[in-house]
Amino acid sequence: MTIIGQRNVSQTNGAKQRGAPSLALIAAGLFTLAAAALPVAYLIRRALQIDSNLLRTVLFRAKTLEILITTISLVLAVVALATLIGVSIAWALSNVDLPGVALLRALVILPVAIPSYVFTYSWLSLEFLPNGFFATLVVLTLTTTPYVTLAALAAFRRIDGAQLDVAQTLGLNQLESFFRVTLPQIRNAVGAGALIVALYVLSDFGAVSLLGVDTFTRAIQNTYQGSFDRSSAALLALILVAISSLVIYFEISFRQRSTLLKSSVRITKRLPALRSLKSKAWALSAILLYIFVALLTPLLVLLQRFFSRVTPIDLTELLIASLSTISVSLFGALIAMVLAVPVALLAVRETWIGTWSERAILLVHALPGIVMGLALVSFGSEFPLVYQTTGLLAFAYSILFLARSVGSIRTSFAKVPINLTEIASTLGQTKARIFYRVTLPLAAPGVLTGTLLVFLSAMKELPATLMLRPTGFETLATEIWNNTAIFRFSEAAPYALLLVAIAAIPTFLISRPDRDSERGELQ
């Protein structure tokens, strides 16, 4: 008993035991912090130029309050629904003995590959959804659920099945043991996924604009579009930043500090698989229903449009757009990885740079692409050498989507047992070599997942891409836009289908549980 107790104590001190961060690490963390602060600094600079009359009109009109209420209700409703659906799907995939579970796991994640404007278009074209709040709720829930599913799937894998056995011997039924044993253990992971969902909803433009719901993002867009008033738009964007900081604050206070420790508990037994026909049938039909509405329906609409098109496919254009998309998104994902790893290492050590860099990254994640795009235009156009190069575009992607990777990267570093790095140091390895030979390989699956998530998100990014890509550089997303902007949905279909097809590969990699480490944990 005492030994176990002692072990726990030493793990709580994990942050300190990992030792002070090196100067290079601190410098890298500061760079990320500065990069994340860039758009906020831009917004503040712009907002300060507003004249006081306009300030009052923008801030204190009744409409602003209405937008605030709509935005917050939409965020809350989507987060609640996506969490419910995402956790249920992940639970079914982890606890029920389903046929083709690997494929199902990939298919429930794949909706992240469909841009929300394409998703919304395809649902709209079915003339089934009415405009407005409810439709937006449905669309955003379906597109964001995978972020929760993914987080919950990983969390379920870390739960020791023996605990559930114990719970049952203690007289808890399935439902009770879910709420009292399982839920507390997946809570932080699900909270992190829900945070991404909340920030996604705050920054989404595709769905809210097409379905006509007034959120801050749409108000910002309208202000740019209608009055070319960058100061009011910046002010509205700052309100968005304030909301997102509130959301982040909630997530932090919801987070349980101890879960970092639990992740290193040994798994002695896998989760028991429910094998009864009834549970299989229920689970399978629920999962298939989700796949049908969130993935199959938009894909079928796209296919129908694809076959109804009149002009022949320009294969060269498709190929060029695909290669451009893949390369610039990968570039962005790799920059994000290089930026996220130091932040994750600093956050694991609980240094203020790590904590604040992470928060800043999350904060800017709520900003709509047009704001990020303009911030980088304002900053980047000062440097003609980099302005409108793929490099700057990739950098923009990394800042925009760093938030989607930093969580999984941080968790995977936190899971690397401290004693292994200590052993490596007694085995004659320098800090740098230990990182390269022990820490990084052990954290690699999480780092890869995070990087691929940035890749997936960058592939479908539009507003910043339109502004920052090199002139004449077309990605799949811009080609889709080129056609949908003039209502050529059928012409956009090949590009959209290709986007989903390309995205399927990283999605499959992400959804696959890492077999090596899983077996390692099982021992």
Partner: protein, 338 residues
């Protein structure tokens, strides 16, 4: 082992990225014989014109396509550092915003004189290229009597039958024109009456036309060319027709797409050449036949099935002032349409 695989993957990816970014960067922004264009006009419709221009002059065009308003915002952010030589906009508003920030160069008198005085900026720094008429799109089997004025649309029997796109710049330009001609108070009461009729709100003109075809709504205020766009997308005839209002009615507003040359451009003569090309009789006729827009140089030409520009009897409106939509938006917000 996992390490070496990871390393191999990373080096492969970096190689790929490097090649692609290098080739992409090489895209000749600094070539002498080229122009950089920010185009708010969509690629599908304008690219054929660009191709003809390059073939005729040998001047290469690097075109950045985007939303007119977003491109205007981008140019405003870039300021003196803008790499753009020419800005092509879907509407007068975006051009006015850029012109208002004194970022456009004065145009040659010869260019300005190609068009009637109400189709160019008084500040002489932008010029219209094509005209877009506001119309009422409607389902012929459901609308018996066509209205001759927009004021009929606020009557009781239009309740719930009309669609508008209040966030769209073309609708906002229409309201701006109304404020200019009728004053703010009158416009507000018109908007309130319209709002009382509970119109259906859409994000885009094309969605309105589609909704009319689908029977969701009977009529809508749109630009005239969307009937073609939707027909082409759906690949069939649609149950939607365009109707103009009576002579001089505000509902017949002609908005324009236009072009301006960036003050900071080092290739202003090339840019002038392109504008001159787009305003040539030949290309103007091509706009009418290919993109179904109105020519402002040749007002007697008519898009298939529609009256000619000089037959429409458009209201007299100062297009240059249409960029001042701040008041318009405030009003739309006030009555609850935005």
């Amino acid at each position: 082992m996992a390490n070496s695989r990871l390393k191999a993957l990373i080096s492969l990816l970096s190689a790929l990225i490097l090649t692609v970014s290098l080739t992409a960067c090489a895209g000749g922004q600094n070539e002498v014989n080229s122009l950089t264009i920010y185009s708010g006009r969509s690629q599908e419709f304008i690219e054929p014109f660009f191709k003809t221009f390059t073939e005729a002059t040998g001047i290469e065009l690097d075109v950045r396509y985007g939303d007119s308003a977003a491109l205007a915002a981008q140019i405003l952010e870039e300021g003196d550092n803008s790499p753009a030589d020419l800005f092509l906009s879907q509407d007068a508003g975006a051009l006015g915003a850029v012109a208002g920030a004194k970022l456009l160069a004065s145009l040659d008198q010869s260019l300005l004189e190609r068009v009637a005085s109400n189709y160019r900026a008084p500040s002489k720094d932008w010029v219209a290229i094509t005209g877009r008429a506001r119309v009422m799109a409607y389902a012929p089997d459901r609308i018996a009597a066509l209205p001759s004025s927009i004021d009929e649309l606020i009557s009781e029997n239009w309740k719930g039958r009309l669609a508008i796109a209040p966030t769209n710049s073309s609708f906002q330009a229409f309201i701006t024109a109304m404020i200019q001609t009728r004053g703010e108070t009158a416009t507000e009461s018109w908007l309130r009456a319209l709002q009382n009729n509970s119109p259906k709100l859409y994000e885009k003109n094309s969605l309105i036309v589609q909704a009319i075809d689908a029977g969701d709504v009977d009529a809508g205020l749109v630009n005239h060319y969307y009937t073609w766009e939707v027909t082409e997308e759906l690949g069939r005839e649609i149950n939607v027709k365009n109707s103009f209002f009576g002579p001089g009615d505000l509902g017949n507003l002609i908005n324009v797409s236009g072009a301006g040359i960036l003050r900071t451009s080092k290739k202003q003569s090339f840019a002038s050449e392109l504008i001159s090309f787009l305003l040539s009789d030949e290309e103007q006729a091509r706009f009418v036949s290919d993109t179904h827009e109105y020519s402002i140089v040749l007002p007697e030409l008519r898009p298939e099935g529609l009256p000619a520009l000089n037959e429409i009897k458009a209201p007299r409106v100062d297009l240059a002032n249409l960029s001042d939509v701040g008041r318009t938006q405030a009003l739309l917000i006030k009555v609850g349409l935005l």
